[in-house]
């Protein structure tokens, strides 16, 4: 029995209620309030499942001869917590935010269904149910992406999104096909009992990496993500970025760690390579993005890369029978996944609040919001610090664990791992540094300085529900940052199930220090670091105010004495990124700056045009689309032939088959 499974029918009922009551305020409260309650229950249920025995449930639906199987184990429990957290936060946010939704009838019916799809993915215990839920999750989130369908960009986003989502589903289908074998043993239990051979396991791992990776946003399969996530209403963006990508990570873990069993060492190499590249490409693209929500979406790509670095390390350790290392790396990855859910949701909520306050997503039109909004800038700042991986917040804790996993053991027997692990360490470090650059830019341009447009100048603080959601997540960012040991201990059953080992118990320590392996090796204490910073600030403030003059005088900015009449003279997002663009972008993104200087006598203002090419679009997707278009164009000629030509096809087919028959005989 599995009481938690009841949330799925409840959510579907809410969906139905959403259709009926979409246009009324009651519908909004009902759907989001209901989702909030359900998500809370889900989080609690997931938490108890971490330590409880596995629960099973078989329903007489789905594929007739195996039914629909659900299972709640520690891994599922952890991801249920994640969904409960992200979903609950998003619902809380939406209670206020969705008041401004123009087309609630396009959002309300799909929102609970989206949640239900994600929950069902996590609970599924056979391939059919898993993929059913997987595609359901894609389809309902696609409908949410299409909520604001009149904007042309959104239609394109939805298109690319659903294609890639279907690609992901079909690819995973192939992986399950291999696992299920000739007889169609789609139940996960029977797959676990008949693990594939090493070669098949490798292929399954690769296919699952492509399948789950295209949903999670691994480069080069990430192209849909920066299009689709921003297109949806902000609470849905938060859910897609913060939770759905994690469900994709779950899919990868479930298949590769649980179902496939031990993989060969090169599996780790591949995942590490992909993860490292994803992290860096993602953050570089985020750095060059001017749309706030797209920036956040690209940053999701980066964080998914970091999670996959952890997973790759875990695979590498597991292939070498190093249980402790595998547990450490897996814990780091899952911890980062959890962290990403908190701070990315927070940031998307913030972006939603900004969008609501100004109607703008383009950073070049924002600025100075810190003066006009009271709470949002503060919590958004916390999100920015957390996502930049800076102590004492949670982003640092998980990245620190990942670094420890990188450093754990250099003596791998395989050359591939010897090379890729240090390189990944460097890529991770680079990504972390670039991320802080990226979020200085994002925060500085949007919230600091002077407003760059009237809309930004007239911004107002958002509603209390939204603020409550943001404050909740900001608190979580801080709490998991200063007591990371609690999260690590929570993750222990998951790591034990999947790697056979677990990290040392953390919470026993009097100072709540986290010690991944041994105290002499490395340790970190978020609580103390936080306390030290707070104490030194207090000491300093007190001392300074004793010692120094108290006067504060407001004056026009100095700025080296330049008169500065217009906010346009501020550093813009584009100018901020320019040094980085020069360093990293000239080769990778073929970025160019063209000075457009009018001829003498021409009154036109001079300007500078920057161009950035996306190597993934240019290298893969555009040629692919062009090829398909070309073939479609050529084959289209076959639609305009004479009847005689069609008859000759029949004739040719007949002759060919007869000849083939003679040859065969």
């Amino acid at each position: 029995m599995m009481p938690i499974a009841w949330v799925i029918p409840c959510l579907l009922l809410l969906s139905a209620a959403g259709i009926v009551t979409a246009r009324s305020a009651f519908g909004r409260v009902l759907v989001y309030g209901g989702c909030l309650l359900i998500c809370t229950a889900l989080g609690i249920g997931g938490f108890t499942a971490l330590t409880a025995a596995n629960q099973h449930l078989q329903l007489p639906v789905g594929l007739p001869w195996i039914g629909s199987n659900l299972r709640l184990d520690a891994l599922a429990g952890f991801f249920l917590i994640l969904i409960g957290l992200g979903g609950g936060g998003a619902s809380l946010f939406a209670l206020g935010y969705a008041r401004h939704e123009e087309h609630p009838q396009r959002v309300l019916p799909f929102y609970p269904a989206f949640l239900a799809g994600m929950i069902l993915v996590v609970l599924a215990d056979d391939a059919f149910t898993f993929l059913f839920a997987w595609e359901l999750m894609s389809l309902s989130s696609w409908a949410l992406v299409m909520a604001h369908h009149r904007e042309e960009a959104n239609a394109r986003a939805g298109y690319v999104y659903l294609i890639m989502a279907t690609f992901s589903g079909l690819t995973l289908l192939l992986a399950f096909g291999l696992l299920a074998g000739d007889l169609g043993n789609y139940g996960f239990d029977s797959i676990r009992n008949n693990p594939p051979t090493a070669d098949v396991a490798g292929v399954v791992m690769l296919v699952a990496l492509v399948g789950a990776g295209s949903k999670a946003g691994l480069v080069p399969l990430h192209v849909w993500l920066p299009l689709a996530h921003p297109a949806a209403p902000s609470h849905v963006s938060a859910l897609m970025s913060g939770v759905m990508t994690k469900v994709a990570v779950y899919g990868f873990i479930r298949i590769v760690f649980d179902l496939v069993g031990p993989t060969q060492w090169w599996a780790g190499t591949v995942v590490l390579a992909v993860g490292g590249i994803t992290a860096v490409i993602g953050v570089l693209q985020a750095l060059m993005e001017r749309d706030l929500k797209r920036l956040l979406a690209y940053s999701t790509v980066e964080n998914i890369g970091i999670v996959f670095i952890g997973l790759g390390l875990s695979l590498a350790f597991r292939a070498n029978n190093l249980g402790a290392g595998a547990a450490l790396a897996l814990t780091a990855a899952l911890f980062h996944a959890l962290n990403h859910t908190t701070f990315k949701s927070l940031l998307f909520f913030g972006a939603g609040a900004v969008l609501h306050a100004t109607g703008q997503r383009n950073m070049e039109t924002l600025g100075g919001l810190i003066h006009r909004m009271k709470v949002t800038p503060f919590v958004f700042l916390i999100g920015c610090i957390a996502i930049s991986g800076l102590p004492p917040l949670n982003g640092f804790a998980s990245e620190w664990l990942t670094f420890q996993a990188v450093l754990l053991r250099p003596e791998f027997p395989q050359w591939g791992l010897k090379l890729i692990i240090p390189v990944d360490g460097a890529l991770l470090a680079l990504a972390a540094a670039l991320a802080s650059c990226c979020f200085v830019r994002a925060y500085g341009i949007c919230f600091l300085g002077r407003p760059r447009s009237d809309a930004a100048a007239q911004a107002r603080e958002t509603d209390p529900w939204s603020l409550a959601a943001m404050i909740l997540f900001a608190t979580l960012c801080l709490l998991t940052g200063i007591i990371p040991g609690a999260v690590i201990d929570t993750l222990a059953p998951v790591a034990r199930d999947l790697t056979g080992a677990r990290m040392p118990v953390q919470l026993g320590d009097a100072w709540q220090t986290i010690v991944p392996i041994a105290a002499s090796r490395s340790s970190y204490n978020g609580l103390l670091v936080f306390a030290f910073i707070v104490i030194s600030i207090l000491i300093t403030v007190v001392t300074i105010h004793r010692l120094s003059a108290h006067g504060v005088r407001r004056a026009p900015p100095w700025d080296c004495g330049f008169p500065d009449p217009t906010p346009l003279s501020q550093y813009s997002a584009a100018s901020f990124e320019q040094p980085i663009r020069r360093v990293f972008g000239t080769v990778l993104f073929r970025s160019k700056e063209i000075v457009d200087m009018p001829a003498p006598g021409d009154n036109r203002p001079a300007g500078i045009v920057r161009t950035i090419r996306d190597p993934v679009w240019d290298g893969i997707y555009r040629p692919l689309a062009a090829t398909i278009g070309w073939i479609a164009g050529k084959s289209d000629l076959l639609a305009y032939l004479t009847i005689r030509s069609y008859l000759s096809f029949v004739f040719a087919a007949l002759v060919v088959l007869l000849i083939a028959l003679t040859i065969w005989q």
Binding site: L381, F403, R441, I537, D559
Partner: protein, 316 residues
């Protein structure tokens, strides 16, 4: 229990109080080498006092962030500096953050400072922040690569453990360590805004980085920032000393005598380091901002090469 706590407090106080002196020393050395008499060694202290005595002029549209940032910057730097073993490895809280955490703490300080630079909304502030973050985006991974090299050799990221490992002399000469040292020097120069990456003495618009960020600051805020900068310089010098030249540093035992020896050894190291920096700054010219990435890229590559060597062979 009490002894390490005392050592910790002494460390925190000493590093804070002596750091302006280090700045004074570097300036003095540079002046002498330029055949100037230069200001007094304790001029930085006087500057701080003067700044503290003045009223703070804050730009009209500066926000709360602008006023909090100096304290945060100072506090993070101070906490980071407190974690570095200077004269003794026997610090009460040295385990609360390892080398990675120290790097990240400095990153937090920089994050706050860069935001503060953008707060007023002037072109110079943005310019400074942008360049600072660009430099950091290369210097930080380079620093982490150095951390990796050292940690792989010592088997720990804890500075006290590393120092202990280096002290017992079985390390020998290693290629990877040499690379790490070279990279660390480059990073230290860049992170502290010294020549050839940045010039702390300049206010020439097109060349300044750090100074552009803090252009709007005055009074006690500026004092905090200046103090944090000098703390950071001392932090880096101590770090180099702790990792590559831990001679004389006291171990884990509670022995006041050895601590005293360690203290003077540390003072000597700082003095030597300050003079070396002064000399180096005199003979090298500042480079163009867009040459800096190459310079730091070299550090990153050196660090990565060192780590790779360690992964391939433990003996390197």
């Amino acid at each position: 229990m009490i002894y390490p706590l005392l050592a910790q407090l002494v460390q925190m106080t000493v590093i804070l109080t002596l750091s302006p002196l280090l700045i004074g020393l570097v300036r003095k050395v540079k002046s002498r080498l330029q055949r100037r008499r230069g200001s007094s060694l304790i001029q930085p202290y006087r500057d701080l006092r003067r700044l503290l005595g003045k009223e703070a002029v804050v730009a009209e549209n500066a926000s709360w962030l602008f006023r909090i940032a100096p304290y945060f910057v100072f506090a993070s730097t101070w906490v980071a500096a407190a974690l570095i073993p200077t004269f003794s490895a026997n610090l009460m809280f040295s385990w609360s953050g390892d080398l990675i955490a120290i790097t990240a703490l400095l990153g937090s300080a920089r994050f706050a400072l860069a935001l503060a630079g953008m707060d007023v909304g002037t072109s110079f502030g943005g310019l400074g922040s942008s360049r600072e973050m660009m430099i950091a985006s290369l210097a930080e991974p380079a620093m982490l690569m150095i951390v990796f090299s050292v940690a792989l050799i010592a088997g720990s990221t804890e500075l006290s453990t590393i120092a202990g490992y280096m002290l017992n002399g079985q390390v020998g000469l290693r290629v990877s360590l040499a690379m790490a040292l070279a990279a660390l020097l480059i990073v230290a120069v860049a992170e502290n805004g010294r020549i050839p990456v940045d010039n702390p003495a300049t206010h020439l618009e097109l060349t300044m980085v750090h100074e552009a960020m803090v252009l709007e600051y005055s009074g006690r805020h500026l004092a905090m920032i200046e103090l944090a900068a000098s703390l950071q310089l001392m932090l880096y010098l101590s770090m180099v000393a702790c990792i590559f030249l831990p001679i004389g540093m006291a171990g884990n035992a509670n022995e006041p005598l050895r601590d005293a020896v360690g203290f003077f050894a540390w003072l000597a190291k700082m003095a030597a380091g300050g003079m070396a920096l002064g000399v180096a700054e005199t003979i090298v010219a500042k480079m163009r901002v867009f040459r800096v990435p190459n310079f730091l890229g070299a550090a990153l590559m050196l660090g990565l090469l060192g780590v790779l060597l360690l992964f391939v062979s433990r003996g390197m």
